[in-house]
Amino acid sequence: MLVKRLQPMISHARRNYVELMFQVMGRALQAISEVDETTRKETRALPDGFLFEMQVMPNGPKLIVEHTGDGLLHYHSNGAPRAVDLSIQFKHITHAFLVLSFQEKTSVAFANDRMLVDGDVSLAVRMTRVLNRLESFILPKLVAQRAVKEYPADLHLPEKLMSAARIYLKVATHFVETVRA
């Protein structure tokens, strides 16, 4: 009985969480591309105007960023201005939730067939590295180790820029604990 009544609440909460995390990540991607040379080294190889999307299938929340040149990423909060070039798609909101709540590493999610790549695989590999970099930036080290294969040794945190994201994350972590219980 209780399960039946709780289920819609949990799934609603998950959806909100995934949407929120996509927003946090979108802004954070733009921010680290402005301050972090290691990130820019990766993103410079993307074509100018390249649109990257992460989406929950079939029509769930999405995150869209554009490479505007010289490694800089721009977050499109109102959807894609045109057809995207590369899309990483979660098969279900539950899988997106697992990854975005750092219960499953991005690389593990790929290995576990949780998500699909539509577009150039080598660019997807590159974007995965950027996402790993992002996660190790915005997450407390303990959580980040769970989210990425290896925690980079050379992190110099641009504290100010990331503090906003961290606040989001505190909210988010709280959220996870509530939903998981």
């Binding site: 697992l98 219960q103 499953e104 690389s107 593990v108 790929f110 290995a111 576990n112 067939d113 949780r114 699909l116 790549v117 539509d118 577009g119 695989v121 080598s122 660019l123 997807a124 590999v125 590159r126 995965t128 790993n132 990425v148 294969k149 290896e150």
Partner: protein
């Protein structure tokens, strides 16, 4: 590991063993196919390998309507379009691909065009584009290595744009893979060795990389055991039909394993080296395998140690302390490579290939980092890491 999840899929009927080719007519008729087209290459035809297939069909009153025997080693969109035209003109209704990776990939791509329509194969590039089953499609591998007969991927180059187009769909899988020892009996020694080491690498990587799962593990260990037991025997006695069949089955099993659990850094480096230095794929696999295992060692100690049982057998396994088994597995692979070097000079280092310049290592490392398979390597790989593996593989 409460989040452990996996998928495993292999709907290919495997028809293997003595006189397997003679089952083709029956299998075709089971799919209501009456007008098969053969897609192959000049080498296969010159080796006389088409004869038993054609004879098997004729004896059952089944006519091979068309034979295309000009698949190049690196198949292209133009070749695919041309073959599809012949297929339509001759009103064929099924495809038999006979050969190695290129002929099989070409067969898969032609099947897309003749089933879905059109002349432009590029339109179907990517993952999950196909939504319907294709025409009856059989594969007869003539090398024992690539495992392409059980993978849902094809790669075709677009010469005009100078890019390689990937196609991924479970509909690319053939209805049946026919493994007949007659087809690999005449493989020259260095190709036998290189392709068997490709199969070995598929098995070892799928057993040690991130997407390993219980079902692919079973196929991987069986494949490692078959290659370890049979390869040197076949090198010494190429006409050994039983040994040839063991290697061919190992290749298919390793193919099933890696198509479900993917490969890692050996393949990333191998793909890059193939593209830059034009070295055969199997050779690159054999070359890089021990160096990559050494790099991954601390992340894969347990599974790699388990492989010792399949590489060296129960006596050596039980005589080796658990803490030393992973290293012993690497030594076993090195020993096998030395034995192959003695028999056919299969290179063990980049220097021994005579085709790689030290100045190319950086370009290889950079390209390897963008290869899809690196995602599944159990250890994160930086540019420095890739370079240091390459330097160790140099000499």
């Amino acid at each position: 590991m409460t989040n452990k999840y996996y998928e495993f899929f292999c709907p290919v009927k495997v028809i293997a063993g003595k006189a397997a080719l003679e089952h083709i007519p029956y299998e075709l008729s089971g799919l209501a196919a009456k007008r098969p087209m053969i897609i192959t290459d000049k080498g296969v035809r010159a080796a006389g390998l088409l004869n038993p297939v054609i004879a098997a069909c004729e004896e059952s009153g089944l006519e091979i309507v068309s034979i295309f025997d000009d698949v190049p080693p690196d198949s292209s969109t133009t070749v695919v379009r041309d073959i599809a035209r012949v297929y339509r003109k001759e009103k064929c209704d099924s495809i038999i691909a006979i050969g190695g990776g290129s002929a099989i990939d070409t067969g898969k791509a032609v099947n897309i065009l003749v089933s879905e329509g059109g002349d432009d194969i590029a339109k179907y590039s990517g993952a999950g584009v196909l939504k319907h089953p294709l025409k009856p499609f059989f594969v007869v591998p003539t090398t024992a290595g690539t495992g392409s007969e059980v993978t849902s991927v094809a790669v075709i180059s677009d010469e005009k744009k100078g890019v390689k187009l990937p196609f991924t769909s479970s509909f690319l899988l053939p209805n049946a893979a026919i493994i007949d020892p007659r087809m690999t009996l005449t493989l020259p020694p260095h190709i036998t060795a290189a392709t068997a080491m490709d199969a070995m690498t598929h098995a070892v990587e799928s057993f040690t990389c991130m997407a390993k799962n219980p079902l692919s593990d079973a196929y991987a260990t069986a494949a490692v055991k078959k290659v370890s037991r049979s390869l040197l025997g076949v090198m010494d006695n190429p006409k050994d039909e039983d040994g040839r069949l063991e290697l061919a089955q190992a290749s298919t099993m390793a193919g099933i394993a890696f198509s479900n659990s993917m490969v890692g850094l050996v393949h990333s480096l191998g793909h890059a080296t193939g593209a830059i230095c034009h070295l055969p794929h199997g050779l690159c696999m054999s070359l890089y395998l021990p160096y990559v295992l050494e790099f991954n060692l601390e992340s894969i100690r347990e599974p790699l140690g388990e492989l010792l049982l399949y590489l060296e057998g129960p006596e050596v396994y039980s005589a080796t302390p658990a803490a030393r088994r992973a290293e012993a597995s690497i030594s076993a692979i090195r020993k096998l490579r030395d034995a192959l070097y003695k028999r056919c000079e299969l290179p063990r280092t980049l220097k021994e290939t005579g085709k790689v310049l030290e100045s190319q290592l950086e370009a290889i490392a950079k390209m390897a980092l963008d290869d899809g398979s690196i995602m599944f390597n159990p250890k994160e790989v930086s540019l420095e890491d890739a370079l240091s593996v390459l330097r160790r593989a140099w000499a």
